[in-house]
Each structure stands twice: as structure tokens, then as C-alpha cells.
């Protein structure tokens, strides 16, 4: 079991504290939803956890060892990161793009090993992109592209998966498919942090939620504990509509508060 933790992370940009002493944890086997209004610092936190952004203070640890003690390759093998609305500079084919996920595993530039091929195929099947294998990335719809970029991250078979708004560009069916996939991946032993804007998806599919507001963690815990009225009022200035189906509670943003 692996655990990725951000400990008391702080980052200032000028007078503004973007991360103001944040603790964040994900362990293998769980899907953690990172929610909060725009500008709360979600993407910054995710990038800090992925070692893409130096922080002013605090540390990121993987299994209690600082990630900076790992080699870049080792880190890349264990932690995958998918940026928000990522694009490809060149119209490469889907199978080649997913294959880039094998780079940390020393994939040769010309030839992929059988293990590489197997990992790429598994990742494409899991994301339902195997039928697109030979298509060029710039011919895909934005939903297809999101799933391909997710497949790219899965191809590296990481322990921890960091996703910045993985369902933003997807239609409802695809959103459900991706969230189900994340749950399945967690069940197979991956730890997932996903930045989400959709509170109903967050409440349904995440094991835990972390609600960020103005660079701090406003609330953390089970969806029920985090999505309380006073938290939503403070963070989003909304009043939710609550319901239940199939024995599961869900939350919908319903009314703006003045």
C-alpha cells in the first residue's frame, strides 16, 4: 500500500497565499475528490503533489519518504499526472500517444517491449479507446481526447493517479464511465486524486472529499461530512438540493445565496 501526502504545503504569489498550510493525503485503494470554487488552489495543489511546482514550505512524501529523494524516473513510474484539457503538439496516433506513458519504464524510442504493448492495450481497453488506436489525436472529439490522455497515464501503471478535471469535457455517459473506471482502478489498488467540479459525481463516486477554499482545507472526510450546507454556503455560496437513489445520497447545486 502506498500513500502520497502533502504536509503543511505553503505557496505565496506576491501578497496572495495560494496554498496556506495544506495537508493532503491519498492512499492506494481510494478515490479522493478535490473540490472547491475556482481559484481555491486545487490545480496548484495537484501540481505541487506531482512535483511540478516548487512550494515555499512543506513537503510531499510518498510512503513517508520525500518525493525529492526519488529519481525523476522512479517518481514518474509511481505517480502519474494528467493536466486539465491537455493537448498534443503534433497529430500523433492514439496508440503512440498512449505509449508515451511507458517512457518512465525505459521504453525504447523505436521498439516497444511486449510488456509495453500489453500495458498500452490494457490502458486503452480500460478507457474504451482501443477502437481509436490508429486515429490521429487531432481528429478526436474532446471527450475522446480526455479518455486517451487518461489512458496515457494508466499505461504507466502508476500507484498514484493525479487528475485535473478528468470529466470536464465529457458527456454524461462518458462522465459516468470515467468515474466508474476510477472506482475500479482504486479497487485494483491505485490511489486517485481527481479535481472535480460536479458535486453530484463527487458525492457519488469518491471515497473521501477535500474541500478547498482560499488556499485552505475547509473540510475533509466522507462526502456526507464535507458536503454539508454550511460548507457549501461558505465555499460556493450555494444551497444544495439533496436526494437519494439506489441507497446512495447525492447533492446537486440548487440555489445561489446572496
Amino acid at each position: 500500500m502506498s500513500r502520497l501526502a502533502g504536509n503543511n504545503l505553503r505557496l505565496r504569489r506576491g501578497a496572495r497565499a495560494i496554498l496556506n498550510g495544506i495537508d493532503m493525503l491519498v492512499v492506494t485503494g481510494e478515490v479522493v475528490g478535490l473540490i472547491g470554487p475556482n481559484g481555491a488552489g486545487k490545480t496548484t495543489l495537484l501540481r505541487a503533489l506531482a512535483s511540478l511546482l516548487p512550494v515555499d514550505a512543506g513537503s510531499v512524501t510518498l510512503d513517508d519518504a520525500g518525493v525529492d529523494t526519488l529519481s525523476a524516473t522512479e517518481r514518474a513510474r509511481r505517480i502519474a499526472y494528467v493536466e486539465q484539457s491537455g493537448t498534443a503538439a503534433w497529430p500523433v496516433s492514439v496508440v503512440d500517444l498512449v505509449g508515451l506513458g511507458r517512457l518512465p519504464h525505459g521504453r525504447g524510442l523505436q521498439r516497444q517491449s511486449a510488456a509495453d504493448d500489453a500495458a498500452v492495450l490494457t490502458a486503452m481497453r480500460a478507457t474504451g479507446t482501443d477502437a481509436l488506436a490508429d486515429r490521429s489525436i487531432d481528429t478526436l472529439s474532446s471527450g475522446e481526447r480526455s479518455r486517451v490522455l487518461l489512458a496515457r497515464a494508466l499505461a504507466g501503471r502508476p500507484e498514484i493517479l493525479l487528475l485535473d478535471e478528468p470529466v470536464a469535457a465529457l458527456d454524461p455517459a462518458q462522465q459516468l464511465a470515467v468515474m466508474e473506471l476510477l472506482q475500479r482502478l482504486a479497487g485494483e489498488g491505485m490511489g486517485v486524486i481527481a479535481v472535480l467540479h460536479d458535486l453530484s459525481l463527487a458525492s457519488r463516486f469518491c471515497h473521501r472529499l477535500v474541500l478547498m477554499h482560499e488556499g485552505r482545507v475547509l473540510a475533509e472526510g466522507t462526502p456526507d461530512a464535507v458536503l454539508r450546507d454550511e460548507h457549501l454556503a461558505r465555499a460556493f455560496a450555494i444551497q444544495p438540493l439533496r436526494g437519494a437513489a439506489d441507497g446512495q445520497a447525492f447533492v446537486l447545486p440548487w440555489r445561489r445565496l446572496k
Binding site: 503538439a89 503534433w90 500517444l97 524510442l109 490521429s136
Partner: protein, 324 residues
């Protein structure tokens, strides 16, 4: 990579043809004379046509590879040593080294001057690109750098005490392979080989960079190291090339663009295949200028610009259409 054997074959064919070209067109008699052991033939083949061929291969390969490297690094199909001002600054560096006599005092002064000029240009561009990654910014900065470099080159030549220097701005800005010697080949060779090796080592990094800097770094690629490799590699190879043949434009633009579909648009194999591609295009252009003839030969850069500039326009229009 399926195209590699065909490109190598084309290179060999152009090489053979290049050796058979006299200054006024096809003249294969010299090769026969040289093979028969005749002195005049040997002299012309070994001391005139061979250096011309070798420089065409080396410099053409360099420009193709540098174009592919810069396009991958800037994630921009319009990046090219000439267009973004790297060649112009290399020419300025070489001009300063040559006309001040540094190149006579220092054995490698000439290529080092070109390398220094190229290095400064790419550093400036990278600094700009990191602040504002838009394609237009890069191109406009390149235009400004090119204009500045050619103005300073003309100024340096004007200040030279030698009255011939003033007209030599044409050589430096448009390039030529004619009447170069094996000395020029040996002068540039170590820098071109070293720079080429550094650029080829960028393959993995450029592949990862297809998905942007953040994703590349999350894949374990050090962007800083990748930049250093690419910048020093391009500066070494292009700087030394320009120092011995002048700035030959557009090869680095045309070649990677034409070859990209043949390698499924992947940056790493594109690097490798752009070497014979650049060599082929440069040799073909150099054969063309000799076919056109004239006592004072057409500059090679004129020939490559005649193909390259319309091509560049086409690319700009195409990109504008794709990203409204």
C-alpha cells in the same frame, strides 16, 4: 522509419550527381579523369567538388536535424534556425571572428564565433518563449533578431578595412557551398558531430514534450536538461555550419514538415530522418544553382528561399486556419 532506406538512397544518388557537377552544369569527365589518376582531375575532384559535397551533406543534415529539434522544443512547426534568427546571429558571430582576425589567431575561432552567435540567439528566444509561449511571439522575436543580426553583420563588414568585405554580406546572409575547401570541412566537423549527438539525445524528451511541459515533467523528463541539450546542440552544429557556408535558410523548415507524416508525426524518429532529408534537399539545391549557372554563381540561400518562403507562407496560412 520505413522512409529511411529511400532517403539514404536519394542521398547517395544526389552525392554522386553532385560530384559530377561542374560550375556550369553536368561535367562527369572530371570524375573519370580523377579515377584514371590524372592530376587535374584529382585536384578538382578532391579539393573542389568533394569539400562541396561533404559540406552539403554535413550542413544540410545539420539544418534538417536542427529544424526538427527546434520544432519539437518550441512545439511549433514554424521554428527553424533561419526563421527564428539563430542562423543570422551565427553569421554575425562568424563575421566578427573572421574579419577581426580572431579566426587566424585562434585555430577554431571561426566556428566558435558562429557557435557563440547562435547560442546567444537561442537563449534570448527561450527566455522570451518561457514568458509568452505563443507562436506569433516566437516568430516576431525571430524577425527582430534576424533584422538586428543582418544589420550588425552589414555594419561589421562596413567597418572592416578590406574593401571586398562590404559585398561579402551576400555570402553570410544567403550562404554558398562553392569554392570551400577541406579545411572548412575539418573546421566545422567536430562541432557538427558533437552538436548532432546532443540533438539526437533530445529524442525522449521531445517525445514527452508532445504533451506539454507539465506532462513531460510528470513523465520524469527534466525540461532544464532537455533545453540545455537542444540549445547547445543546435548552437554547436548550426553555428559551425553557418561559419563555413553562411546562412542557408528554410531547409530546417521544409524538411521536418515534409517528413513528419512519414514517421507518424513522432518527434524522436523525425530527428533521425531529418538528417538525410536535410542533406538531400541541400544537395539538390546546390546542384540546381550549378545547373542555372552564370559566372558568379547563384547563392544557395536564394535557391532554398525560392522553395522555402512560399512554403512558409503556406504553413502560416494553414496554422491560422486551424487555430482561429
Amino acid at each position: 522509419m520505413r522512409a529511411m532506406p529511400a532517403l539514404l538512397l536519394a542521398c547517395a544518388a544526389f552525392s554522386a550527381l553532385s560530384l559530377c557537377m561542374g560550375p556550369h552544369g553536368f561535367a562527369p569527365g572530371i570524375v573519370a579523369q580523377a579515377l584514371a589518376g590524372e592530376e587535374t582531375g584529382r585536384l578538382i575532384l578532391i579539393e573542389l567538388r568533394l569539400p562541396r559535397l561533404l559540406l552539403g551533406l554535413l550542413v544540410g543534415g545539420t539544418l534538417g536535424l536542427a529544424g526538427a529539434t527546434l520544432q519539437g522544443l518550441f512545439r511549433n512547426p514554424l521554428a527553424e534556425p533561419g526563421v527564428i534568427g539563430v542562423s543570422g546571429c551565427a553569421a554575425l558571430g562568424a563575421v566578427i571572428a573572421f574579419y577581426t582576425g580572431v579566426s587566424t589567431m585562434l585555430p577554431l575561432g571561426l566556428p566558435l564565433g558562429g557557435v557563440a552567435g547562435a547560442l546567444i540567439a537561442i537563449m534570448v528566444l527561450l527566455a522570451l518563449a518561457s514568458r509568452d509561449p505563443r507562436i506569433s511571439t516566437l516568430l516576431l522575436a525571430g524577425v527582430a533578431l534576424s533584422a538586428l543580426a543582418s544589420a550588425l553583420t552589414a555594419l561589421a563588414l562596413n567597418l572592416s578595412p578590406n574593401p571586398y568585405a562590404t559585398v561579402e554580406v551576400v555570402f553570410w546572409l544567403l550562404g554558398s557551398l562553392s569554392d570551400r575547401s577541406l579545411e572548412h570541412v575539418f573546421l566545422a566537423l567536430p562541432f557538427i558531430l558533437a552538436g548532432g549527438a546532443l540533438m539526437l539525445a533530445c529524442g525522449r524528451g521531445l517525445e514527452a514534450l508532445t504533451l506539454g511541459e507539465d506532462t513531460a515533467r510528470s513523465l520524469g523528463i527534466s525540461i532544464g536538461r532537455l533545453r540545455r541539450l537542444a540549445v547547445i546542440g543546435v548552437a554547436f552544429a548550426v553555428g559551425a555550419s553557418v561559419a563555413v557556408t553562411g546562412a542557408i535558410g528554410f531547409v530546417g523548415l521544409i524538411v521536418p514538415h515534409l517528413l513528419r507524416p512519414l514517421v507518424d508525426h513522432r518527434p524522436a524518429p523525425l530527428l533521425l530522418i531529418s538528417i538525410p532529408g536535410g542533406a538531400c534537399l541541400t544537395l539538390a539545391a546546390d546542384i540546381a544553382v550549378r545547373l542555372i549557372g552564370g559566372e558568379v554563381e547563384l547563392r544557395l540561400g536564394v535557391a532554398t528561399a525560392l522553395i522555402g518562403a512560399p512554403f512558409f507562407l503556406y504553413l502560416v496560412l494553414n496554422l491560422a486556419r486551424r487555430a482561429p
